[in-house]
């Protein structure tokens, strides 16, 4: 066995895939409902690691921190079908996403593209939550046109020297490491001069500046690179093949962003607000509300279509982009209708008293608003659909 010298996480107690879907779901659900702290459910923002460290360390000790990784690398080794169930339960219970840059991005990339040495060096620290990763892709001049990125890495002996700037780097102020797309050849077609580098953030030359968003909370940051160094062993995949490495991340996880759970949660909140304000039988409200219920129901139907493809072990096509568009736009409609239904309370930030309940009326709005921008804006998704599905 190739990994005999390295221990990755904890050994799995059993082959989870052998459980029935229902038994597996029930097991996950029981764990979550029993042990996840009530006060941390459905947080309006991504929490800093220290706020949720107790939970993730518990998952780490259980060997559940990386549901999607193969068991030989310390993951749960879940099939796509079971991984989907796991994710649905995470969302259903309003648990923050599982260290997604390390678990969802770096881990799978290293398992697919990394050297044995890279896996040994980085995977155990992701599993133990010692390393927290962030993703350095976007730049001030490279948003939707990501391949135009300019942050430069030049080989100097055994090290790359990196200069430039990343932006919209989610939770960079909470991360110990960053994986970045950098330009290593400026003289070729833009996609062909990009490399994928792993960089320790604890070094001079890295400056992180959080950017408060319009909700007043800072989830994303600017990251400045000023003669930052990283060993050349931290190149993942071949030199100048970073675009290919980054694109390989688009697996079945793409359907996560189209899950109906957030809009369903917003619908519940809408009903709470409407009920507290005596609007449930107002015909103007009802018309919008029922249309929204229908949109959420049919988001669920669409999600199920793609979940079934994943569960059958088939590969998702480009058409799955529609799920992101439909889900995020539905979520926004729900968030907007909550504000409208709240009337004068729609102006209030944070928890506000409506009837005899406290509701954070703007929380869904601030969560939904950027959803049509990140992860490939909905306009970019429409470009993709137009080209890849409609052949225009």
């Amino acid at each position: 066995m190739t990994n005999s010298e390295t221990t990755y996480g904890v050994a799995q107690k059993q082959d989870w895939n052998a459980l029935s879907d229902d038994a597996f779901r029930q097991m996950i659900r029981t764990e979550f409902e029993t042990h996840f702290p009530q006060e941390l459910r459905f947080l309006p923002h991504r929490p800093p690691f220290k706020l949720v460290s107790g939970w993730f360390l518990r998952m780490s000790r259980k060997g559940w921190i990386a549901p999607n990784w193969p068991a030989e690398y310390g993951g749960m080794g879940l099939s796509a079908r079971k991984a989907l169930i796991f994710h649905e339960e995470v969302e259903r219970w309003g648990i923050p996403r599982f260290q997604d840059h390390g678990i969802q991005m770096v881990g799978p990339v290293l398992i697919q593209w990394g050297t044995q040495e890279q896996r040994r060096r980085y995977l155990p620290s992701i599993l133990s939550c010692e390393h927290i990763w962030c993703q350095g892709y976007s730049e001030p001049g490279s948003g939707s046109d990501l391949a135009s990125l300019q942050t430069k890495a030049v080989l100097d002996g055994d090290e790359f020297v990196i200069n430039g700037q990343k932006i919209w780097t989610t939770m960079a102020h909470d991360a110990t490491h960053i994986f970045a797309l950098v330009r290593t050849d400026p003289n070729v077609k833009k996609q062909e001069g990009i490399s994928f580098l792993l960089i320790d953030m604890d070094q001079p030359g890295i400056t992180v500046r959080p950017i408060p968003d319009m909700s007043g909370y800072a989830e994303f940051c600017e990251v400045f690179f000023d003669d930052v160094r990283t060993p050349k062993d931290n190149l993942v995949g071949e030199l100048n093949k970073g675009w290919t490495v980054a694109k390989s991340l688009l697996g079945f996880e793409r359907i996560f962003i189209g899950s109906p759970k957030l809009p369903e949660y917003a619908l519940e909140m809408l009903e709470t607000v409407a009920s507290a304000r005596g609007k449930l039988d107002d015909p103007v409200f009802r018309d919008k509300y029922v249309r929204l219920q229908l949109d959420v129901e049919h988001l669920g139907a669409s999600y199920q279509h793609y979940a079934d493809i994943v569960a059958r072990g088939e590969t998702l096509g480009a058409d799955v982009s529609m799920l992101k568009v439909w889900a995020t736009e539905t979520f926004q409609r729900a968030a907007d209708l909550i504000i409208e239904t709240a009337g004068p309370l729609g102006a209030f930030k944070g928890d506000a008293r409506i009837g005899n309940v406290d509701v954070n009326v703007l929380a869904p709005f601030y969560k939904a608003r950027p959803a049509t921008i990140y992860g490939g804006s909905n306009e970019i998704q429409r470009n993709i659909l137009s080209k890849a599905v409609l052949g225009l």
């Binding site: 009802r286 029922v290 229908l294 199920q304 529609m322 439909w326 659909l385 137009s386 409609l390 225009l392």
Partner: protein, 376 residues
């Protein structure tokens, strides 16, 4: 649920037997009966009219997904044949009626294509409440005297009508043959050049055996057949949407302006994507509703909600897609000689059948609310 192989074979056969034929569709416009009896006979021979009829009653004994697959293919070819009304609703309803020699013989004629039957149940205003039609059946000797009127009858040239009537205070279902003395049918022309019937009964004599169902359960039986028809109608509209979208995409790839194919303009690309996306959501909505309706022991309210959910979605998006298809074509899309017109007018004609999107959205909301209240 129909097994996937059977479903695929049925769909392929349907595509082979019912290709789009613009000249044929145009040819039947404005005629009586407005569609091809020869085609209808061929559909019967394919077994399509008996899909929902149990095997012991001489049918294929398949499920609603199979009937929906055929309806979608017919929607794709803008076929004027009244498959949903006379190939889904009527056979489904007759299959639910208590078996008797009379019922069995009528059902055999219906699925054999010899007799086209359709449900006549709506009042002059178009209420969607079963029993709302102002038709009475008074006992008279061994039979009944039927009076009153109903409207929006989907096949005015049917051979027989399944008429809901108030028979001495309770709802009953009658089989009334066309041409019966005292029955007059006026046509109202629909957008696609077809027509619907406005039926008036004036002392129509019906034999006792014409009453094919009565008493408790009749209303539920009719509602079930209507829900099946609603979903079948959604399937037909889905086929219509598919073709409107295909025609539009072909046009965007062919038509050039400003020196390039118009499909290269991003504003049109994004609109086309939205049409496609709405069609996809409609497709998934239909699948979800079919799955609900075909599940064993589904409660009537759940079935009704599933039917309304699909129709609220598809009734609306089919018309919106048809409209946008015209816009993306430009002037040619508004002409009668371009085939898109056949689809647009067909969508307009069939979208209100058994309740349009707004009516079903309302019912969907009411049923959701009732469920929430029941849970509370």
């Amino acid at each position: 649920m129909t097994d996937p192989d059977t479903l695929r074979m049925l769909e392929e056969a349907a595509r082979g037997h019912a290709p789009f034929d613009a000249a044929r569709v145009r040819g039947w416009r404005g005629t009586a009966p407005g569609f091809d009896r020869g085609h209808w006979q061929a559909m019967a021979e394919q077994g399509w009219l008996s899909i929902l009829v149990p095997e012991e009653a001489g049918g294929l004994g398949l499920d609603l997904d199979a009937a929906a697959a055929v309806a979608t293919v017919l929607g794709r070819s803008a076929a004027p044949e009244p498959f949903v009304a006379a190939g889904i609703v009527a056979p489904k309803l007759l299959s639910s009626c208590p078996p008797s020699e009379g019922r069995d013989a009528r059902l055999a004629r219906v699925i054999g294509g010899e007799a086209i039957a359709c449900l006549a149940w709506q009042d002059v205003a178009g209420s969607l409440e079963v029993g709302a039609a102002q038709v009475t059946a008074a006992s008279e000797g061994d039979g009944f005297a039927i009076d009153g009127e109903c409207r929006f009858v989907p096949v005015p040239d049917a051979d027989a009508f399944l008429v809901t009537a108030n028979a001495n205070g309770e709802l009953a279902l009658f089989w009334i043959d066309a041409g019966t003395k005292g029955l007059t049918i006026d046509r109202e022309t629909t957008a696609d050049g077809n027509s619907q019937g406005w039926m008036r009964f004036s002392g129509v004599n019906a034999a006792g055996t014409a009453c094919i169902a009565n008493g408790a359960g009749v209303e539920a039986m009719i509602n079930e057949a209507i829900d099946y028809g609603t979903i079948g109608n959604c399937a037909e509209l889905l086929g219509n949407m598919e073709r409107c979208l295909e025609l539009t995409l072909e046009y965007l790839k062919t038509r050039t302006q400003f020196g390039q194919m118009i499909g290269k303009f991003q504003v049109l690309q994004h609109r086309a994507v939205d049409l496609w996306m709405n069609k996809e959501v409609a497709r998934h909505a239909l699948t979800a509703s079919l799955n609900t309706v075909m599940a064993p022991n589904v409660p009537a309210a759940g079935r009704a909600r599933a039917a309304s959910s699909a129709k609220a979605r598809i009734g609306q998006t089919a018309l919106a897609l048809a409209n946008d298809a015209v816009q993306l074509h430009g002037a040619i899309g508004f002409t009668d000689e371009y085939d898109l017109a056949l689809y647009v007018n067909r969508a307009i004609a069939i979208a209100p059948y058994l309740g349009n999107a707004a009516e079903h959205l309302k019912r969907y909301g009411e049923l959701k609310q009732r469920r929430t209240e029941a849970a509370a």
